[in-house]
Symmetry: D2
Subunit: 187 residues, 4 copies
Amino acid sequence: MSTAADMAPELEVGRWFNTPTPITLAGLRGRVVALHTFQMLCPGCISHGIPQATRLRKMFAQKDVAVIGLHTVFEHHSVMTEEALAAFIHEYRLDFPIGVDIPGTNNPVPRTMQKYALRGTPSLVLIDRSGRLRLSHFGQIEDMQLGAVIGQLLAEPGETQSAPADSALSDAGSGRCEVGANGKRTG
Amino acid sequence: MSTAADMAPELEVGRWFNTPTPITLAGLRGRVVALHTFQMLCPGCISHGIPQATRLRKMFAQKDVAVIGLHTVFEHHSVMTEEALAAFIHEYRLDFPIGVDIPGTNNPVPRTMQKYALRGTPSLVLIDRSGRLRLSHFGQIEDMQLGAVIGQLLAEPGETQSAPADSALSDAGSGRCEVGANGKRTG
Amino acid sequence: MSTAADMAPELEVGRWFNTPTPITLAGLRGRVVALHTFQMLCPGCISHGIPQATRLRKMFAQKDVAVIGLHTVFEHHSVMTEEALAAFIHEYRLDFPIGVDIPGTNNPVPRTMQKYALRGTPSLVLIDRSGRLRLSHFGQIEDMQLGAVIGQLLAEPGETQSAPADSALSDAGSGRCEVGANGKRTG
Amino acid sequence: MSTAADMAPELEVGRWFNTPTPITLAGLRGRVVALHTFQMLCPGCISHGIPQATRLRKMFAQKDVAVIGLHTVFEHHSVMTEEALAAFIHEYRLDFPIGVDIPGTNNPVPRTMQKYALRGTPSLVLIDRSGRLRLSHFGQIEDMQLGAVIGQLLAEPGETQSAPADSALSDAGSGRCEVGANGKRTG
């Protein structure tokens, strides 16, 4: 994985939800950043992107991976308002920070979306511990692949480095077959 | 992630499927090894483990990650025979190498399973590029977590090192919303 | 299944989408009516109710079963507007008729929702060929159960009666095992 | 739905599991019979057919719908033995009656499978309250469609007639939005 990547441009956010203070990429140095860009009326965002962002938030320690949502409205502007987004966040019980991308000037595409040249929603952006843009993916990406890229970014040196403890592994094993104490199966 | 792990014990396999020559862990040095242990009549193996092993095989380049199946029969020995396994492999169209763990002596648990002290099936074992045992997980493990651990192992130096190309990312984006050339949405 | 049920109260709809002319229950006599009530920002409606309504529409002939959506806004009124619903219908590519329940007077619950005493969204209402209310279900209902109740209503005499042709059965059989011409398996 | 169907031929079963006494179609008159034919090494049977048969068993009262499994081995005869099937039934915790179709003479296809001219596995056969063959479907069939056909058969007069009580409806509604006592939403 090349490390000659460009620095990720700073976010341009007009309003934040789920965070007491505004978030900047500069302030997240040392952590891997998973930026999930979406629109609340985009079906692929609702069925795939938002649930994946929620899994990311749950899977990785926040000191290692910062999961950020960005509402990048480039269509239906009159109904995907901040007020509508607030209702959406409430109904879907989202608890990670979500910013509203600042509308473009003479351009339906908002500013951060323009700077990152995103093709649409959902798009997933990964930024490494040093603030470099490492992945920008439009459409669906499988959990296994996303996990693999994040795992590699976590392994790279940064200002601080840590890794998910093995103990974080889910152990809820329905359907598994267990060896008993005497070699016979139990349960 | 600790690197003080023990060396993974060598496999004890009586018969191999889907490989022209027997496989040894020693022969896989330099690659990350994902060892999926299963029984053909274990429901959790069929619904979760085998499909995940198939995804692993498809997701990672074989020069980076070796996906190996191991049939660790510790119950119903009389029906989970090599002949039955051959039919199973054929019906499920499995194409990665699968070994048959050598039956135990005075013990229903087969030999490799004993050496790894596996608790049952499915169990997933990860071995790093240097042959050290890094993960042994009984039951289900989520794709995102598994990907993250493999990503970290891939990032560690070994005899050879490479990483999944970004171009390997799936781009099949149903449900996504795209910005048109003029900022208007297409399709 | 009792047939002493009350007549279903008429819909009170302020605006219709996906139909050239307003729809009344009276005009649907002779057909079974599946009324799917939802809110566009209700997660259970998006993940369960709307996809199920779409399957209903695809599964049954329109001359037998009329699938109708009803947007019953009882919260977040300022953002779940008709304009927002129009964008929602467009983005989700919904093609069955959808009405907007008329807002209540001094009551956040809209009029049809009040008349049917619905507890929330999603709610599924089934009306028989004679216009009687036969099922009102709040929350998720399994496809098999829903199909069974509709099948029973279809079998009841009405002004007209017909049934789904066996040829409507999906025959897309991945994973199936076929006997060959000579008794040997093919493909 | 035509009622001029032929009588379903009697089952030819060599051994039964999960029933104290042998089962005959003649003995099931008055009930709708759902006959699920499968092979334990058929992937489509494991992923689709068996789980659907289990849902059928759970959804309908046994006095209305009899769910019967039939192991119709037409390939890999030497490993899909009665002993292997017993282990399979135990591992998958199947609790509905399952019969073993009697092997064919000079024919790999077993006898009942021949009489019904089934094309392979999984195949689902529906028999009405009067013992007539009403549906024979090879491959996957959607729950909604299957429910609809069974609902129609249940509505037909037979020696006895009953229907699933509305109270059988699942009410486990995660993700639903509820109106509070005063019209405000709760939960």
